[in-house]
């Protein structure tokens, strides 16, 4: 990466400006605004001040010509600047640069050679040269600034869109409608027939919802708090599935205080129950462990259920990909989440996080 950044792009010497040409779609997303009024006002005020200073210093008999020349330069600079603002390309900049050079020679031969007075002539020629040079620099600045602005806006919007999509997936993943309606169906029945399991199911479901709803508002969450939500989830599922689900959760006290992105543990536990235990004809066991050794946090969720499908890699759901992305955003590329066949059948999900100090 560094060698790439350090390489000198010599083409900028004869062909300056941004290399990337924005597409219509990109311009629609981030490049349709005009320069702000403040910018235009400040620019014009500066030009007016400079022009006044210049005219004060110039010989009085040149005032009319110099004023006309200056007005022409400003008008050309502003209109061409606006065109480049709308479409900041280096081909546009190069064309205008060539035109400005042409214009200089036109003015040089057209006006200054006819002047006999060397003072007047020096004034006109240096104003033409200086003015056109300034306009050219100005245009180059407009193109560079504008291209950079559009690029960073596009990047910002992409990130924003990605964050939105992720939040949307999270909100959807947070409480599965299947889980909710099946739990409510069980609850409704047990209330109707006055089964003793109604009260504990309602307790566990309420606790789960209370723990889960605010879960995703936070960027990082104590592992212990998330384990609590997972316990409630397991309590609901144990009541519903009866003997089919056996579960144990073991969180080391040292690990419980570690901050992790919310939802990672819960997603793994839900996956183990939903894809491991529930499809299994005779039920299965789920074991959750978390331990911290020095600066390394390891979370494991294993089940003894039906195991991974033959084409494992391809069928990983949105939930896992999402968790992995958030882990790496929080802890860098060394954080990992992997799925593998369990030691005694089923599936083992392992999260490995080297914590920075």
């Amino acid at each position: 990466m560094s060698s790439r950044a350090e390489r000198i792009d010599w083409s900028q010497l004869w062909y300056p400006g941004p290399k990337h040409v924005f597409s219509e779609a990109e311009l629609d997303r981030a490049g349709r605004d005009l320069p702000s009024r403040t910018l235009v006002a400040v620019l014009l005020a500066n030009i007016a001040l400079m022009a006044m200073a210049l005219l004060q210093a110039a010989p009085p008999e040149l005032t009319a010509r110099l004023t006309a020349l200056l007005a022409g330069l400003v008008a050309a600079g502003m209109t061409q600047g606006l065109a480049l603002w709308k479409r900041p390309t280096r081909s546009g900049l190069a064309k205008r640069g060539a035109l400005l050079v042409g214009l200089f020679w036109l003015l040089y031969f057209g006006i200054s050679l006819r002047l006999t007075d060397p003072v007047q002539r020096r004034w006109i020629v240096s104003l033409c040269a200086g003015g056109l040079f300034l306009v050219n620099i100005g245009l180059w600045f407009v193109v560079s600034f504008r291209a950079h602005q559009i690029e960073s806006r596009l990047r910002e919007r992409d990130e924003h869109d990605r964050a939105l999509a992720m939040a949307h997936q999270l909100a959807a993943a947070q409480i599965q409608p299947h889980f909710l309606f099946n739990s409510l169906a069980a609850l409704q029945h047990w209330v109707q027939v006055k089964d003793d399991r109604a009260a504990p199911l309602l307790d566990a479901l309420t606790g789960f919802l209370r723990a889960t709803l605010p879960l995703f508002d936070q960027r990082l969450l104590r592992l212990g708090d998330e384990a609590e939500a997972a316990q409630r989830y397991l309590a609901v599922m144990r009541l519903r599935l009866g003997e089919r689900l056996r579960a144990q959760v073991q969180i080391d006290p040292a690990a419980a205080d570690t901050l992790i992105p919310p939802g990672v543990l819960l997603t793994l536990v839900e996956n183990a129950v939903e894809h491991g235990v529930q499809p299994s004809l005779h039920g299965a066991e789920v074991a959750v462990t978390a331990r911290r050794q020095g600066q390394v946090l390891t979370i494991e969720v294993s089940d003894t259920g039906v195991g991974l499908p033959a084409s494992a890699g391809a069928s990983e759901g949105v939930g896992l990909a999402n968790s992995r992305t958030r882990l790496q955003q929080a802890f860098g590329p060394a954080a990992s989440l992997s799925l593998q066949p369990g030691p005694s059948g089923g599936c083992l999900a392992r999260v490995h996080i080297p914590l920075q100090t």
Partner: protein, 259 residues
Amino acid sequence: MNPLTALIADDEEAPRAQLRAALAKAWPELGVVAECVNGVDAWDAFLEHEPAVCFLDIRMPGLSGIEVAQRIDGRVPVVFVTAHGDHALAAFDAGAVDYVLKPVDPERLGQAVARARARLAQPGPAAAQAPGVAELLARLAAEVGHQARRPAALEVIQAGVGKEVRLIRIDEVIYFESDARYTRVVHEGGEALIRTPLKELLAQLDAQRFWQVHRSVIVNHRHISAAVRVDEGNMHLTLRDRPEKLPVSRHFQGLFKGQ
């Protein structure tokens, strides 16, 4: 076939009990002959009891409710009872397949019961009046199926024979037959007994290669030499390398049509 028997299948106890209670009110004459806790039991119980109507949860271990319905193949009305309105469900409004959402709403169940009754009152198999159901089931299976994790297809069968455990490759198997508490595996190298019930094996076998021809027989179709019709209701199979004849029950005779 008893005109008023039903099969209920749901892997959870509470919704099963709730459905039974709701059905007792909505359709008092209906007798529930089988309550199943998974798809393989449901299919086995269907073959055993031949109920008049089936109420199936969609997500079940072994075989999904959709796979059971595909096997039932329109022979009797099927009502899916499911917790979440998968989109493709909306297509089944009044066909041979209907659906009710959980928690069960008595009014909606009443509608489904009325439709099933109307269907039962008509002569002929339910499927004959509802073309397109097979395609709808296939679409629903595709929609629900990608979320499910099912047991891996069986490659090798481990059978204890005396003191040794024999490994039988699945493509060496000629047929499986249930035998009291065991399943008899007849393969190219001999015979063995395993403890896995036939109905559970079914969910782990490739249905293209292994054809169920009877409630208690699954045969590798490469070993079938002929299907012989004995009389109106009876058929049996002869095998290429084995002398025995395998029975084909009424439900599966449609597999052998001749062209």
